[in-house]
Symmetry: C2
Subunit: 396 residues, 2 copies
């Protein structure tokens, strides 16, 4: 039998959803470099460089900082399964899909899970977390820095203090924030954090950067049970990533690590501060445009993610029809709402490579066209006009 | 801080170890195609095509056939964690590193694990497995078709019969055999099997093809506990891969699936029978050459893997020095021995793209050079001469 399928030739998209984001040509080129062995001296050195650059991205000195061989959710599971033994108390703060997922993951591994909840789009106050940790006395507190499902940004430093005052470890999801917003692992005193490559790092999905503090490593070393997941067991994975041992564990995704290496080089070349400023600038311009078109953000202003703009779909506008037209007529992908936001919200990403003035203007122009097709009344040009004005003001 | 690291530029290797194997240029090119979203209609269609081609590779009609978003060991863990609940009896046949790993994975997830063992390099008889299943009455029997750590090929069909006669499910590791040797899931009545992309499929590591029979799916559906691993929970993953639901689970490694799609197209284009014959032919020629150089296989003739040739390192020859010289002077990677074979055995891979007459001759010529450097006495040209004679005889 010969294959009847055509070769891979994807359409050209502008990826402005919740991830994956656009991937730079030099990252795609790195992916396609010839595969070498997972114990090849070249690859072992590349792993060291990836670790060093990840430490810069995470703003940490944590030795145990590496890329898990799976997507962001594997990073979440790696953090949970290494920190938690059956019966351990875990407090999870749920204000979106990914907090809910963390609670599910911890419960599956036998943790005694308690959740505190805020409606989708809101964030937690220090006080409510303080109250919960004092009452529940958990071993680990899990929280999402940037909720990909809602576009909400959770402030961390004060929460970290109350978590540690109660003797717990702080586990943080920074899948969507890493590389687009400050993620200061050491300054904030975060014990374990995980991310994904396909958001603000603008590498294809397939790896999950993680970092663990010395306190987290001590907790792993004090376990009385084996880590339930062999694949994600950091007490073994770290030996492969360690320049001391290099003990074979599993075969790393070689080419994905090539891609991540290049994506991290691009991040450091631009500089973290410049990268964060770019995300803020384009977010402000997009916001001006969307508001001029009458669209409203679903998250309060002080807690909005710059790289993920959740807006309420105007009354009478068909969610799927507009997203379909954006994709089919303009090649632009945006995200739908999840959970209680399904059908009510669009999630517009400005992540990494996709976070450009060009994309902001193109998107606003295309959205105007699609909303007009949907019979929604708009002032022609208002969105683009306001965005251009915002860029002009931001430059002044 | 700007990056001080050079861009990705790996040395050119000839990958003749236990995997990863050489990757074809068209597969590397597919990897570098532009990333699209994980719910993009283009990608959903590509997933369907990957599933159809995987069914051909596995020689199965199993609906639940897909690529797990991790490397081969994640595929192993996916099979175990979906079939096994805490307390379930699992019999694992251990004759190498990967059987041992399967027992470890099952025990971590709370299975009642019993192992039967054969020395590294040997295989199990139907009788000893029949005796063990009758005594232990397991829910699942795990066995390795092609032991990557030893080069031994385990015959499966008769074992499958005794396993099913005892009412158990058969779980098979075919990481190294898929795409290089017949792997007949339906004919052999295998209930769950996993592989990796980086062996005879000649795609970079990063995905794990798996397949589950209807009986295995029924066992999953009859579980009284949630699958312990969220990331690998097939009852959710299958909805994303199903053309009915497409429910978002995790973000698939888009570009890795592009690469696998092309690697599977190449497999089907060549044809399974032609691919298997190519592996046999090059194995026979390599064997003639190695034996003419005085090297001995560690596995009995009737159980040798064509794609992984384990040979005993000659007395007085330094393992690391020879492997280092092969790598540094010729860019050829071969594998070291694992477990009790460490320091005693070389593992010479002829997998997928790397399984060529050119590589057989190059390797024999280079090995002669390295053994001479190591002070080992050889008849000059004996290996290459014998291999060329073997190719000539095989063509006659």
């Amino acid at each position: 039998m010969s294959s009847s399928f055509p070769h891979v030739q994807p359409p050209r998209r502008v990826l402005m959803g919740p991830g994956p984001s656009d991937v730079a040509p030099q990252v795609l080129a790195a992916l396609a470099a010839p595969t070498v062995g997972h114990l090849d001296p070249y690859f072992l050195n590349l792993m060291d460089e990836v670790q060093q650059m990840l430490r810069t991205a995470f703003q940490t000195k944590n030795k145990l900082t590496l890329a898990v061989s799976g997507t962001g959710s594997a990073g979440m599971e790696a953090c949970v399964v290494n920190l938690v033994e059956p019966g351990d108390k875990v407090l999870v703060c749920v204000n979106g899909v990914f907090g809910g997922r963390m609670a599910d993951v911890a419960a599956r591994y036998g943790a005694d899970v308690k959740t505190i909840e805020r409606p989708f789009g809101e964030v937690f106050s220090t006080e409510e977390i303080q109250k919960a940790v004092e009452e529940f006395q958990p071993k680990v507190v899990g929280i999402v820095h940037a909720e990909t499902s809602t576009g909400a940004l959770q402030p961390i430093p004060e929460i970290s203090k109350v978590v540690h005052d109660a003797g717990a470890l702080l586990l943080m999801d920074c899948v969507t924030s890493l590389g687009g917003l400050p993620v200061e692992i050491d300054k904030w005193n975060v014990d374990a954090a995980y991310s994904g490559t396909q958001k603000c790092l603008s590498c294809p999905p397939g790896l999950a950067p993680v970092t663990f503090s010395d306190r987290a490593v001590a907790a792993m070393e004090a376990r009385s049970t084996k880590v339930a997941s062999w694949y994600l067991d950091m007490t073994m994975v770290r030996n492969y990533w360690s320049d001391q041992s290099r003990a074979y564990h599993h075969t790393a995704p070689i080419n994905m690590n090539y891609g991540l290496h290049q994506a991290l080089r691009d991040l450091l070349e631009e500089g973290l501060e410049n990268r964060f400023a770019r995300h803020q600038r384009n977010h402000q311009a997009l916001r001006s445009g969307l508001e001029a078109m009458g669209l409203k953000y679903t998250v309060a202003e002080e807690y909005r993610l710059p790289m993920l703009n959740a807006v309420t779909i105007p009354d009478g506008v068909d969610d799927k029809a507009v997203r379909g037209q954006l994709l089919n007529d303009f090649g632009i992908e945006i995200g739908r709402g999840l959970g209680p936001m399904a059908g009510k919200t669009w999630r517009i990403g400005l992540m990494g490579e996709a976070c450009t003035q060009r994309n902001v203007l193109l998107f606003l122009a295309a959205l105007e066209s699609c909303l007009q097709s949907a019979g929604h009344h708009l002032t022609p040009g208002a969105g683009v006009g306001a965005a251009n004005q915002a860029y002009s003001n931001l430059s002044a």
